[in-house]
Symmetry: C2
Subunit: 251 residues, 2 copies
Amino acid sequence: MIRVVLLGTGNMAHHLYDAFSSTERVQVVQVVGRNKEALKHFENTSSDFGSIAQADIYIIAVNDLSISTVKQELTEINGLIVHTSGSVPIDDLKPNKNIGIFYPLQTFSKARKVDFWTVPICIEANSQENLNLLATLAKTISHRLYEINSEQRKTIHLAAVFANNFTNHLYDIAHEICVAHQVPFEILKPLILETAQKVQSHPPSSMQTGPARRNDTETIAKHLEQLGNQKQKEIYTLLSESIKENYGEKL
Amino acid sequence: MIRVVLLGTGNMAHHLYDAFSSTERVQVVQVVGRNKEALKHFENTSSDFGSIAQADIYIIAVNDLSISTVKQELTEINGLIVHTSGSVPIDDLKPNKNIGIFYPLQTFSKARKVDFWTVPICIEANSQENLNLLATLAKTISHRLYEINSEQRKTIHLAAVFANNFTNHLYDIAHEICVAHQVPFEILKPLILETAQKVQSHPPSSMQTGPARRNDTETIAKHLEQLGNQKQKEIYTLLSESIKENYGEKL
Ligand SMILES: NC(=O)c1ccc[n+]([C@@H]2O[C@H](COP(=O)([O-])OP(=O)(O)OC[C@H]3O[C@@H](n4cnc5c(N)ncnc54)[C@H](OP(=O)(O)O)[C@@H]3O)[C@@H](O)[C@H]2O)c1
Ligand SMILES: NC(=O)c1ccc[n+]([C@@H]2O[C@H](COP(=O)([O-])OP(=O)(O)OC[C@H]3O[C@@H](n4cnc5c(N)ncnc54)[C@H](OP(=O)(O)O)[C@@H]3O)[C@@H](O)[C@H]2O)c1
């Protein structure tokens, strides 16, 4: 039985709490947060960062910029302290003796349930013993465990900005185009899903299609005319150029 | 029983053929193509565009630029002639008397099976009778039928470039970043899928996250430093600006 304290009450804390609650091998002994309303979702809660329960692992699941603030409260603690961020280095948890990272690579929001078993968990620690403990913890909730150092994690976080944040923004532009021309966005949803499903089993470059991929300058020109918005024109032009360059290289 | 002739042997023809073959209500009486190797996948084939079988509907499923060429072979035909393109106007099928569009909005490749029942089919025709016939045909293979005029179809095609072609290119950039830093692309796949799944039930704007969304200039600067490639830096900058603008407006 691994005893865990969760610090934070946001999206990550919710999803971790639900995942840990579904296994007998983990006990969430306390959830600590400053937000009393948000604490109501959990059991064994406290809003006093000064009196934290005994545990094997302390998971700091607060905004990246607040990780070091919350960490100040944990200087007396001997257990393993980890955070869940893709971009904060492990060294930010020093000078504590037992430190690590427990970064679930997924996009969480309270509105959607996620099957945690499919979520890749990136772990890192300052000793083999601590790494083993994190691996044991990760395996209680996920089938996908990766040992990733802070340098690699920075890479993953950057790649995730393209694969998630920017991709979602393209969906948003597609949505705007539909709304502007009274076409239901609904109609694009199967395409969006299939596009994501294709790269589950094929390299994205082999799945590239469209006017830029076949250098169809006539369609590209027509599309640019159709776009009402200057930023959208710029994005269309830049991404088309980038596809053309890539495809040119690969020929 | 609707009798169909398919013209073309590419991705679209394959998927339509498989879908029609699974229903008793449609009979593909002939597949006509210039590519003899590709014709082997089908039954009742011909490579002679000059002797086309009698049918109710003739579906031209060749490259956009060749639609008008293939159409030349069909001047003597009385049945309904349609093409499957998102961007070619219906008027390009004139002066035939019975013309229309049968545009399945999905990304097809021979390597992947698609559940056609979920594919939105956009139909348009030059008469109510022809439209009814296309609706009947569409309903034999899909639950999602949309009556869409050529103007709206242009909008949808443009939106699809963002939702499919450009999105796939972002996956490709994420892939390149991973490869350049020896991180397995594998690790991003659940994130890619969940990002697409989220917008099946939520508007994309409500799902936007990331450094640009929260105007985290420090992370943005670090990411730009990390990117090795000039085009990638430009794309990162432009999409971040665009997100910031959108989010600023919506505040
Ligand atoms: N959500 C995701 O998809 C995701 C994915 C991977 C990694 N992560 C990482 O997980 C961590 C948490 O993210 P999240 O999505 O859960 O964020 P979130 O939903 O915004 O929640 C942030 C939590 O941190 C608390 N907090 C912020 N500043 C604090 C402070 N100074 N003292 C105490 N508590 C403070 C907030 O309390 P208040 O409610 O009082 O503000 C809230 O409970 C971050 O490091 C993030 O990078 C998130
Ligand atoms: N694939 C998709 O995801 C998708 C989605 C929606 C709409 N569409 C539309 O469906 C249509 C077909 O696309 P596709 O993906 O099936 O293309 P494809 O896989 O490249 O196949 C094109 C077919 O057209 C034939 N063709 C080209 N020029 C010809 C000519 N002058 N005479 C006779 N045959 C000719 C090709 O024969 P060869 O093998 O001899 O070149 C091939 O059989 C296009 O209008 C496209 O816009 C495609």
